[in-house]
Symmetry: C2
Subunit: 386 residues, 2 copies
Amino acid sequence: MTERIRDFLSDRRRAGLDDGPVLVVDLDVVRENYGKFARALPDTRVFYAVKANPEPKLLAVLAELGSCFDTASVAEIRMALAAGASADRISFGNTIKKERDVAAALRLGVRLFAVDCEVEAEKIARAKTETGAEDVRVFCRILCDGAGAEWPLSRKFGCEPSMAVDVLEHAHRLGLEAYGVSFHVGSQQPNTEAWDGALGSASWIFRECAERGIHLGMVNLGGGFPTKYLKDVPAVEAYGNSIFRALSKHFGNQLPETIIEPGRGMVGNAGVIESEVVLVSEKSKSADEIRWVYLDIGKFGGLAETMDESIRYDIRTVHDEDRRVPCVLAGPTCDSADVMYEKTPYWLPVSLEIGDRVLIEGTGAYTSTYSSVAFNGLPPLETVVI
Amino acid sequence: MTERIRDFLSDRRRAGLDDGPVLVVDLDVVRENYGKFARALPDTRVFYAVKANPEPKLLAVLAELGSCFDTASVAEIRMALAAGASADRISFGNTIKKERDVAAALRLGVRLFAVDCEVEAEKIARAKTETGAEDVRVFCRILCDGAGAEWPLSRKFGCEPSMAVDVLEHAHRLGLEAYGVSFHVGSQQPNTEAWDGALGSASWIFRECAERGIHLGMVNLGGGFPTKYLKDVPAVEAYGNSIFRALSKHFGNQLPETIIEPGRGMVGNAGVIESEVVLVSEKSKSADEIRWVYLDIGKFGGLAETMDESIRYDIRTVHDEDRRVPCVLAGPTCDSADVMYEKTPYWLPVSLEIGDRVLIEGTGAYTSTYSSVAFNGLPPLETVVI
């Protein structure tokens, strides 16, 4: 929570515009975060993960600071270009792409693509032929168990390291530049050492490819850098140091080019959601009945990451000095699944009441875009960038 | 799948407009469903649950057929009015309402409101005074365990029956008409007998209120009527018969007025989503490696009800005569949580390949509105009503 956000919310309240939840993102915090990444990993290029928050002003600030952009779709590529990034600073990082979208990306000038299987490399090779593009680079994503990360990581992206060698060789034979390896240690990763194992696999793939005459040049270290929710998290510097040690351990003096793809770590702590308490109630008059607190934002209005109670936000109220009681925290829709914290209740002040505003901290990433388009007739989360 | 939907999709394909998933809803099926509900429960008023699918043309057809509307927000009330329903055919069925939204609903002419606690009744009483509205009716929702339902039902809505008596008495003293009781047996409820227990509680509340001089008149039987996914479901007639028996058992000759709130049961089977296979791959060359199939729609593009693999859609392909193999089915976004079926893999034809279209049946309800506004830059699910 910054003074600028506080002032903005006061002004909004005074103007009587505070009907409905709002996400406010402070660009000064984003600037500061970018600086921290740049300093912590000075030889690494930063590719901001646009999906975390694609607000145009935010992208423009990052473009001006020199950031590159990791995109998930042609629409995101267009957003990054509109924000002022040149195409050589954009990666199409989604391993699941329609061939016509690859062609569209090539026509827009993008030359860096993620793959995790041979058929995906074939799509890129065909689209390269179709568009006449040259110097098209691909990197192969490998599986990584994501142990310890707070947002679940499935086996959805990546392949086994041994298969990655074949995929890169296949890409090479198809006329693409087999450029490197990527992995992702899991989103909201509190363990600074989590990169070590995957870097070991990456260096093995570099050696295997070299034996086949293919010389890889780049390791994409992915994201995973956490933002502070309820628990403290290590500083970016600690991640930078740990990653540098692991790189040296596995690659010796032949350090590859590296890139990182922070999303949550870049914008999470730059945003605060203000929401209103719509109802506080109990289900019976029994003394051990738990209290239910209903907000005007829920799982379908932007807090999708509370799914399975994964991400536990820090919620501030005007009564924070008061005694706290366990509460079930739920959203405003007529959907019984729209409950944020129930298995592990959330302790809120006993004096919290209907109409009170609450601040949900650390919500700059993965909120506004998850928001449903109109579930229950409710509009998507309003976002203001200041 | 109807012939009209098939023809529409063929035309769309021929016109080259088939880039991206689309939901097609056949209004003839909706008309048929409305008729089935009206015949199965002839003395019951039908309040269509707008949140299931609020497409304007669909609402207009239902309004013309004489349907009433269960709404979750002021926006949905406006949609029902715009579709041609008069305000006396609209219920504000969300138990979680801002007081200013209650006032807005009263100004729009709505006079029927759900509550599940005393403070919610107080909001309505204050809004009644503020707006000068008269004859404002409230019904109290009670908890119901939802046993057997496929879409999870939490304790989010409703209170214990003993508390409902107090809530209704409180509403009565505040100058509201204590009108009745509502409950919900859980969405996609395959058990036709599921209404029996809750109707027993409702009749007890009627008697308790009568002893306090308050004469309730209505039981809102909620929704829960299923649509066919992979498994067959009982016909609407079976639900009608079972509910009528339970009503007679618990209320004898003094049958209350009844209403139902079908959503899924009204529009689920009227809709089909066409999606494209973006990628088919494996994670290693091991013989027991499972196949991954990625569609251009997923959990954040409209298939939110695959959360925890709750709803299992019937998926048709052009290769359905072929041998089937177990597949993990995933969506197109760069989010590892965007996987529909993994714990219980989905058996799909071994010949299914990139670029094939698949039809996801029974997707008329709870798809388009759940769709995220722009996650990964992907647009919300396109909906066409024919």
